[in-house]
Symmetry: C2
Subunit: 384 residues, 2 copies
DNA sequence: TCAAGATGCTAATGCGAATTATCAGCGGCA
DNA sequence: TGCCGCTGATAATTCGCATTAGCATCTTGA
């Protein structure tokens, strides 16, 4: 079944079938209503549908959004951390009438999937959503350089150009926790997380050579928010690394240094500390306050009602799709214009609440930070 | 970047570039080694990759597998019931070097997504995996009729022809539970599930008119296994519907009828019964045994260690992909042969353990039932 | 009555690759 | 010399659809 077949059936030309199919009714394209009806009838009766592949080849657009994840898409080990992002992405795609292409074919090299490889299939999609704790800088740079439309879920430092993203406002959310802690009387706070990289207000792009992998932006942002808030409040901020130490050792160190509240980069580490503390007969908000800086990335027991903030993961996914389609539309299509396909009419476009500042221009912003939801919880109280 | 560009750069024709790219070395296609090298160099230095779309148009194959779900793909309400299937599907696709296309663009009509609709995008993929408790018969029939390569995750009755599927062996798993119950002394067993449809050994295709929707195969299969096992053991099998009754009413009915063990079609209903029973001071294995016939489909408390069986969801997903690729390869491609694309070489094909009987022919089976894993649990004991 | 516009549709072309038929050059052999 | 066979590469075609220039035919208006 091709347009040619339909054309023969109805005694018109293939071009006419295409025009009718796409509901073209411009002034320079005229089809008699009865002809149109005849063709439509034939289309309906045969159940013909245009071959999306051929369509894409000719029209340069697909209504397919790619999704690339560095980790497996449906992971077993991350406690469904990625799941909410996908929910949001799916919602976004659905409301826009797009299909989602998961790049499961990307081969794994050096323990992670690679976007670019021989037989790269990126171009199958109109654009691409990137998911993962830390994205490869070089690949990111190449995407930017090639002008491939893409969006990262999660803020990313520039990579040879601004990287479009929809991220969570970790600095603000972390600062808010700090402020809450200070408000109830804490004066010695610890930031407990991976590594102990120097963190400045600016993205730390391998100025010092890229030998040591930088902390993922999501971590660096939290720490930055921590430092700023601590400085602003004039209290003591301590940095505690988690690697290579048992929860018990970590707890010892915290107590030894006089820390009264620990801000945990990773929820699961918070659980571990809490559990060790309990074993020692310590009581959690009383002897040591703990706050988690986000949802668990690794599976963690949920018996403790942590003081924390929640990452708006679902919304991030859905807004990422918004931004992406914006980018795609900005990219010149067939002749620098909007694609005309009738089926491609956007349905249910929402007014993506862009918070990144004023609506400075007609153009929608490509870098968005969303607020995190503060959770009261019961693990933060006045220090003894 | 097109093959044409590469061709100009190296002073050869587009055809030559294509031949080199695809590593063609047949006897009727000869390229001088040095020419080949020159072209390959150019390809590498420019980072050129063939446009998958154009490739598909010409070669008629994609390495894209479609995934269609009747419910939202990443649902919030099903307690991640579908998640393991997707994990398996992703694994399968990855090992085969295929991408996954989620048909999120399928519009919803009458409360469910439809496969067939104007502007159908099924053909984007080489084949399609179907996911969902109950698939639409008509759509299934149409898929069969059109010869579209597809596989259902979960057994399906014929629909105008055999439906390829990878399902769980519910009859056997349910029968095993019955046997375990009988072995410890139960004589009056209840099957508690939706509806109360007559169930025969054969698929009940609307002989009686399709007015009343048939039970989904997954339910019918369990019930069939139940009836058969009960009959074989010579004990009493009772049918209890769950709809329109509170767990309390259901419990009353079970006890009134002298049931000593309840086999719960749906895990969550088992939880509900157990909790009501406890509230009344009944003890669960002692006063009433309960077994769940599969993993929870709806979110359910997991505090009870149910006697049950587990659906091999992940494996089902991954085997479905296996079956699907088998079907796709069976379907004649360009000229009834195997596609030649160099990139399309299958990697990591496994010996899909087909249990559906002997290897009767070269052709791999398209209807597979996998064993469920029996879980001992603590909710089945001898009756008082 | 005739140019000027509408109207309705089609031929032709291109998208980027795969594939096939064909062609030019070159030894070797009779 | 002329024919054959072999090598290496290319022109041409195809896939199914979108798009545009343009060709008839039919109305108008003056």
């Amino acid at each position: 079944m091709t347009q040619q077949d339909i054309a023969r059936m109805t005694g018109v030309s293939q071009a006419t079938v295409s025009l009718v199919l796409n509901g073209r009714a411009d002034s320079d394209v005229r089809i008699a209503p009865e002809t149109r009806a005849r063709v439509l009838d034939a289309i309906r009766s045969t159940g013909y549908v245009a071959d999306p592949i051929a369509r894409r080849l000719a029209a340069r657009r697909n209504r397919i959004l790619g999704v690339f994840t560095y980790e497996p898409m449906f992971p077993a080990g991350t406690g469904d951390f990625y799941h909410p992002f996908l929910v949001g992405i799916e919602e976004g795609a659905e409301s826009l009438g797009c299909d989602l292409l998961l790049f499961t074919s990307a081969p794994v090299a050096d323990g992670r999937r690679r976007i670019f490889h021989e037989d790269n299939r990126l171009r199958l999609a109109d654009g691409c959503v990137l998911l993962g704790r830390s994205l490869d800088r070089d690949e990111l740079a190449r995407l930017v350089a090639e002008g491939q439309p893409f969006v990262s879920v999660g803020r990313r430092d520039d990579a040879g150009g601004p990287v479009p993203y929809v991220g969570a406002d970790y600095p603000a959310a972390t600062a808010a926790i700090v402020e809450r802690a200070v408000a109830v009387g804490h004066r010695t706070l610890a930031y407990v997380g991976q590594g102990d990289h120097p963190v400045g207000p600016a993205p730390q792009t391998g100025l010092d050579g890229q030998d040591r992998p930088a902390a993922p932006e999501s971590h660096a942002d939290r720490e930055r928010g921590f430092r700023a808030a601590v400085a602003a409040a004039g209290v003591t901020g301590i940095r505690e690394p988690v690697e290579d130490r048992s929860p018990a050792e970590l707890l010892d160190s915290l107590l030894a240094r006089g820390v009264t509240v620990a801000l945990m980069e990773e929820y699961a580490d918070g659980s571990a500390i809490a559990s060790v503390a309990r074993e020692r007969g310590l009581e959690i908000p009383r002897d040591l306050s703990i706050a988690a800086l986000g949802d668990p990335t690794r599976p963690a027991p949920s018996d403790v009602d942590f003081t924390m903030f929640r990452i708006p993961r679902r919304q991030m996914g859905w807004q990422a799709v918004e931004v992406l389609t914006g980018l795609i539309e900005g990219t010149p299509g067939p002749e620098g214009g909007e694609p005309r396909s009738a089926g491609a009419q956007r349905r249910g476009r929402s007014e993506a609440a862009a918070r990144d500042g004023s609506e400075r221009s007609r153009q929608s912003p490509t870098q968005i930070l969303l607020d995190c939801e503060q959770v009261e919880g019961t693990t933060l109280a006045a220090p003894r």
